[in-house]
């Protein structure tokens, strides 16, 4: 979990670093209001700790901003004043810690707040669209904190009575964030069973969002091709696949052509949508036969079509491509 500390006191900062040493959480420090707002807008923060020994006005402004924009983020207040002398409504913060800290006090309170964020359970290695569909069917109200396995990117999805009502991820909010999060393949999901007070920022049904996310994923991979360094590697995919098949099959007489085929994008999107309906996971390849011609379309780094000869061992080729995709 990412924790944001709002304090400009070097002593408190050092105490926090010592208290949180050895913990797996990532710590971010903001020393002024604008910096804190920027971090909240661009980093997936799960918990905010505010040092009330700083300017009271700035602290209150930050609390108001958090409550308005990120009602899912619990706030821990630090103060050298006793709790009853802090001029704040009690519903604006989750916990209070007196400074200077005594022993492990701060660490224990942070851990207790983190536990509240995951009180609904944790699920590992799951695809967000499958899990979201399950929540929709069961009509659940909960907050999901989702972390992608490979990149450790984090994002938030909020469900109210089975309806996806809000999402945020790296500066994106609502539909834009939901589409990006639902495009992740393998994630760890932390569930918090809590009603979320904010308004519906999405206003769309889940299936449409999933289809849009599939399209977005497809198009971003496709768009990336012309001007990123990755493009050179992606563009070489059809050629490499062709060479691999040639080597495995001994010759290429049964394969007429292997080529980057942007026109296959639409077909791949539809096939991925079918996979999403039936929860079959990531698409690898497909074979469509419309009665006049048939060909394989491969969901590689770029949309790729393979034209087969009439005597081609289609089953063997399918198996070879499936294995090859697992290795890249």
């Amino acid at each position: 979990m990412n924790i944001l500390f709002f304090t400009n006191d070097p002593g408190v900062q050092e105490s926090i670093r010592q208290a949180m040493a050895g913990k797996k959480h990532s710590l971010a420090m903001a020393t002024n209001y604008q910096e804190a707002v920027n971090i909240l807008g661009h980093v997936f923060i799960s918990l905010l700790v505010v040092d009330f020994n700083m300017s009271q006005i700035k602290c209150k402004a930050l609390l108001a901003h958090t409550q308005d924009q990120y009602p899912d983020i619990p706030v821990i207040t630090l103060s050298s004043f006793p709790l009853d002398q802090i001029d704040l409504p009690h519903n604006t913060f989750a916990s209070y810690v007196g400074t200077p800290f005594v022993g492990n006090e701060l660490k224990l309170i942070i851990e207790s707040e983190v536990q509240n964020l995951v009180q609904g359970g944790t699920i590992t290695n799951v695809s967000p669209p499958s899990f979201a569909q399950l929540l929709e069917m069961e009509g659940k109200s909960c907050i999901l904190r989702i972390f992608e396995k490979n990149s450790l990117k984090g994002g938030l999805l909020v469900f109210r009575s089975g309806r996806l009502v809000d999402a945020r991820y790296s500066g994106f909010r609502g539909m834009d964030a939901a589409c990006r999060i639902l495009a992740w393949d393998e994630t760890d999901i932390f569930i918090q069973n809590k009603d979320y007070p904010a308004k519906d920022r999405i206003n769309s049904d889940l299936q449409s969002i999933i289809v849009k996310s599939v399209h977005m994923k497809d198009e971003s991979g496709y768009k990336a091709a012309p001007d990123r360094p990755m493009l050179a590697r992606q563009g070489a995919f059809p050629e490499k696949l062709g060479k691999h098949l040639e080597m495995q099959l001994g010759n290429r007489t049964c394969i007429l052509d292997v080529f980057h085929d942007p026109a296959a994008g639409k077909r791949l999107r539809e096939a991925r949508a079918l996979g999403a309906i039936f929860d079959l996971g990531r698409l690898k390849l497909g074979c469509a036969d419309n009665g006049t011609e048939n060909g394989l379309f491969v969901a590689g780094p770029v949309p790729t079509t393979i034209k087969l000869g009439t005597q081609s061992p289609q089953e063997k080729i399918t198996l070879l491509i499936t294995r090859y995709l697992d290795t890249i």
Binding site: Q207, G275, I277, D279, L280, L283, N290, E315
Partner: protein, 114 residues
Amino acid sequence: MKEIFDAVIGLDHVYGAVVVDKKGGAVYDPLSLNKFNTQNRVKLWVSLTQSKHFAQELDLVFEKGRLYIRKIDLNYLLVFMDTQSSVASLKLTCDLIEPKRPKPKPRKKFLNLF
């Protein structure tokens, strides 16, 4: 429909099959797979089957399984298999049985008047 369904479900590595119409309604679903259990899924299915790209026969390999879709008359046979399955025997089974099935006769327009 029962004949083709029984033959398909008896094949190795096949773990489910269902026949649905283009509106997502189950025409033949003895295993009660109930794959279209939400309105949104039905909507998506309808939009897909109306797409010009949707083929007569579609074999899709996914990470968790394989899906074979075959258009039969006005309906769709959907067969769910594991990733180790061979679709060749499935196609052959369908090819052998399908021609034997009587084709639905077109209705005569004014039959009810006489």
